[in-house]
Symmetry: C2
Subunit: 321 residues, 2 copies
């Protein structure tokens, strides 16, 4: 088997490779070649930790395995380690033997950024100029960096509940040679593409804050109760997601469905757009919304890509098990 330690991922994995891996596996999910297993998520009653497993199998890419780990809220303070900790384990689908172990922390950030980036590539207007960010934490920098590669943006605008964090994303915009402007929420009407990446439990971005023709990627809601955007926005938009079962239960769509503003049948797999079986955006003034919930298959896909890169560069640690 091969081991790719967390410390090697940064130099190995590219946004382009993460984009390709995530786009392919979303396509495989929509064509029925790849599926996610039920998610295990447990409050273990120790260190206030949430721990669990996200597994799946991709018959097209032949990726089998799981991401294991979770959220240890006291890590940074007690151990100087980041609070989200995960590891990806890949298995040989022909024999059931363990094939690789890969640090999953940076990969999780990259695959989450790749997901909104894939949605922008397939759903945003080609002439999008203004990129809007709702959220400015650590993960927001990953989302923005990947988003900016998908269209010829001319400006980034951003809002955050804690405005003192906006320099995080201003820095990313400037690195891409783009001006940055802090805006109030109604300033988001200027945006052609909006990525929301917060951990809010109440909506901040309302329907009135979004102009016709916008593509919106809601990336923060992955738990029952979380909510980033007005449920009316989902009713007004054409809604896409990574995994419909998660969108309706733990994603942004949970609220619009609970309020009878839409049904599960109104939600489309982003993979169907990639595969060409759904037309995607149909007009310049349509609002498209991607409800990104995060699936184990994304983790397996980027981990499999990184293992290939690590073997190619002679960095993978080979252990005879």
């Amino acid at each position: 088997m091969y081991i790719v330690p967390e410390r090697e991922i940064g130099a190995l994995m590219t946004r382009a490779s993460a984009f390709d891996a995530v786009e392919k596996v979303f396509a495989a999910m929509a064509s029925g070649e790849a599926y996610n297993f039920p998610v295990i998520r447990e409050a273990i009653g120790h260190e206030e930790a949430l721990y669990g497993f996200k597994g799946g199998f991709d018959r097209a890419g032949l990726s089998l395995g799981l991401k294991a780990g979770g959220y240890w809220p006291n890590n940074l303070q007690k151990h100087g380690e980041i609070n989200h900790q995960s590891t990806v384990f890949l298995f040989d689908p022909d024999t059931g033997k363990v094939a690789a172990m890969v640090g999953g922390n940076l990969l999780t950030a990259l695959r989450t950024a790749a997901a909104s980036s894939v949605s922008i590539a397939h759903l945003a207007r080609k002439d999008a100029k203004v990129m809007g960010m709702v959220g400015a934490g650590h993960q927001a920098t990953f989302q923005l960096r990947a988003a900016l590669e998908q269209r010829s943006f001319e400006k980034v605008i951003g809002w955050n509940y804690h405005p003192e964090m906006l320099p995080n994303i201003e820095k990313v915009a400037n690195e891409a040679g783009l001006p940055f402007e802090a805006v109030p929420l109604d300033g988001m009407r200027e945006a052609d593409v909006i990525v929301s990446i917060t951990s809010a439990f109440a909506p901040s971005l309302m329907a009135a804050h979004v102009s016709p023709g916008t593509h919106l990627a809601c990336m923060g809601t992955d738990t029952k109760g979380k909510q980033e955007v007005d449920a009316a926005l989902l009713a007004a938009a054409t809604v896409f997601t990574d995994e419909i079962a998660q969108s309706v239960s733990i994603g942004e769509a949970q609220h619009a469905i609970a309020q009878n503003l839409m049904t599960e049948a109104d939600i489309h797999q982003i993979g169907a757009v990639i595969n060409g079986t759904h037309p995607g955006r149909k007009s310049a003034d349509e609002i498209t919304l991607f409800d990104g919930t995060g699936v184990g298959l994304q983790d397996l896909a980027v981990a499999a890509a990184v293992v290939d890169l690590a073997i190619e560069k002679g960095i993978a640690i080979k252990v005879d098990v």
Copy 2:
């Protein structure tokens, strides 16, 4: 982190160590200090494989993690590898970081043998003399070897659907210095302890084949539909199990409950006997029955023990992740 490859387990792990680990974790399960997560088990649609995860957390032993793997029915024929393949991953419960990876194939055999062995230690009559085996496959040799250490047995008797396999267990009996006798099923009336370890979907051992005072460990039924013994036997016995939720759904008790011969309230945790909160056997003519279904915590417990042994002996492979 530490890696203990499959090839090292045989020389490292002892039956005594497996017994201790399994006894402790059964006790922790009964006292509420340890619990198993929901089991993931998927027919992945490739190589006819069943793949999944059995996880858990033991607050007493501080074991957190999972066994991942499954059943690849074509392995032996296609790859010269055994069909059951599994790997155990342990995590640091204080930080969520991966702590160890351990080959799980032999450990699974040893922890399954340890479970019936623990049940014999706590439930069989002290004066048990005749050990009965129903089943004579590869796993039966592990069960018998561990069972024989629990009482001063004087004879082993055995029955198997394919009698030509009986020499497997005769060899184990003889190695322990005991005579072996092949018997028809009604010959099992002579046994003081019976271990059943088959993969049958219909009962072979009937109530009439079992004498008063016998301790019976049913170790083969771990799936909906499987059945080794007459449901009437469970109704006649005091029933113990590793995990009640599994006993009623995928264990031997599923059938007695479906036939209204008993209820979930009639099933006791073996850990309660270990902890002294259940008296266990109350008379010399009581039939006790252990419904061993197999839980992830057993795997974590023996894996944690083997990691300690491997570190102590300098055999564990240390990898800086």
